[in-house]
Amino acid sequence: MKLSILDLIYILSAFSFVFGIKLLGKPSTARRGNTIAAVGMTAAIVGTIFLNESVMVKNYPWIFGALILGSIIGTLMAKRVQMTQMPQMVSFFNGMGGACAALISIVEYDHFLHHTASSDSARIVILLLGLIIGSVSFSGSMIAFGKLEEKIKDLHLPAQQVINMVVLLAIVGLEVGMAGGYLSNPAFIYLILGLSLIYGLLFVFPIGGADMPVVISLLNSFTGVATAFGGFLYDNKVMLFGGILVGSAGTLLTVMMCKAMNRSLTNVLLGNFGSGSKAASAGKTITGSIKEVSASDAAILMKYSKKVIVVPGYGLAVAQAQHVCHELEICLEAEGVELKYAIHPVAGRMPGHMNILLAESNVSYDKLVEMESINPEFKTTDVVLVVGANDVVNPAAKTDPTSPIYGMPILDVEDAANVIVMKRSMRSGYAGIENELFYSPKTRMLFGDAKKMMTELVNELKASA
């Protein structure tokens, strides 16, 4: 067996992917990890174009045209996107990868028809699987993208599960038929393509907007699997390697995200959050009254505290209040107040979403404390400022077994001496349940848009300084 230079490059690229992902797992090395994987990828691409001995690569102008065009547009999109829109950007790029996998299968099938006399059913199975998974990933990612952009609403068809099942069975049936040689008309591949695209739509449509991160992660691993099938098709080990790596890592990541929300993957995919237990918890009404607080009183309360913990949530991201949040931190620290941020694993739209947003506005990384480490600290905290978070601070998760979020780990903000909740209205959070924290004698509500109210707090602090 002859080892060509290309094989050597592929081995190094594959190594760079594993090593890159490994480094991505630690904040201090993450950026280097990304760069290493990118270098490995570039080497693999350049090598494939120039050093291919088994396949004669021609059509250089076409290849370079597409590469240059893609690089320019890809870089522009990635550079221009707002930090709050990162999740949908990832979803979009993932969809592109899926579409790429699907297109490869279509061309390869065409090639196959013209050049191979005997039918090789195992190859067709792999080719079609690449097509199906790639297409589902593409259309699903586009819907996820649309939902996060809030251009597409949740849609529940009647008998959704039955329709999904029928479409899926039809796809499997066609695949078996084509691989077994029962369906010889090449047009059937377009039927599979169409049905797979429809399945992707049906798959993502009923899933709630707040569950999109889980879906994106899942679709991400789908594209990984489609890539692996591509690797099988071309007997290309670096494709197989990268694809399986992403497929398995992505699946685990999906499961971990679900776990952080205390939900099963099936539950997320069926899109029926809490529908079973809603009736049970509706009977329980929360007694107590709500106390409002003005921005100036809240500012004074914080100014004379020793320790303040900020709990950011999706409301902070929507209002783009991360910069003014950092300003508040500076003002309070100037007054000698110790300030930390408590980050719940599923705060925001994606795990780590809050960290990225706050880091963007120059909040120091070590001020962001994860749930397990910060929970014991609430007892010694004077004021907790909850900014646009709801379900992640709902004590019902610990006390009320009938609550749909029962069992989800939450931030123990009720242990603090005072809680100020900044919220646009009394509307319940994603889970659609009441939060008794708001009625607690310790709690005061500060109604308004997070950015506006934060700015008022900062102004009050500056005025009184």
């Binding site: 992902i21 693999a44 076409w62 870089t75 195992a122 991400n220 670096v238 699946t251 990541l253 990225i356």
Partner: protein
């Protein structure tokens, strides 16, 4: 059935590789703090862009207009996945620099 067995015996090494990679993937992600889940997902997203190699092979072999057009689109979309994926990840991670 015969064909499937034939296929498995032809690709034994690949199948070993798949099994091993599944475990490597799981091990690599298992100990990551949730803070890094989003960049990690984004980085993994860029890595599966290695599908672009398949599209380059398709494009490089294209003999008719049909294959050329689809191949061109495939290379373009694959590039978007790779370049966009790595750049977005880098932008996210840029934020994690230690301040001060």
């Amino acid at each position: 059935m015969q064909a499937i067995f034939q296929f498995i015996s032809d690709h034994q090494l690949m199948i070993y590789l798949i099994v091993l990679m599944i475990f490597v993937g799981v091990e690599l992600i298992g100990k990551v703090p949730s803070v890094l889940h989003t960049p990690l997902m984004s980085g993994a997203n860029a890595i599966h862009g290695v599908i672009i190699i398949g599209s380059i092979i398709v494009m490089g072999q294209a003999e008719n207009l049909f294959a050329s057009i689809l191949g061109f689109i495939a290379v373009f979309l694959g590039t978007l996945n790779v370049v966009g994926g790595f750049v977005v990840t880098d932008r996210m991670l840029e934020m994690f620099k230690k301040k001060k």
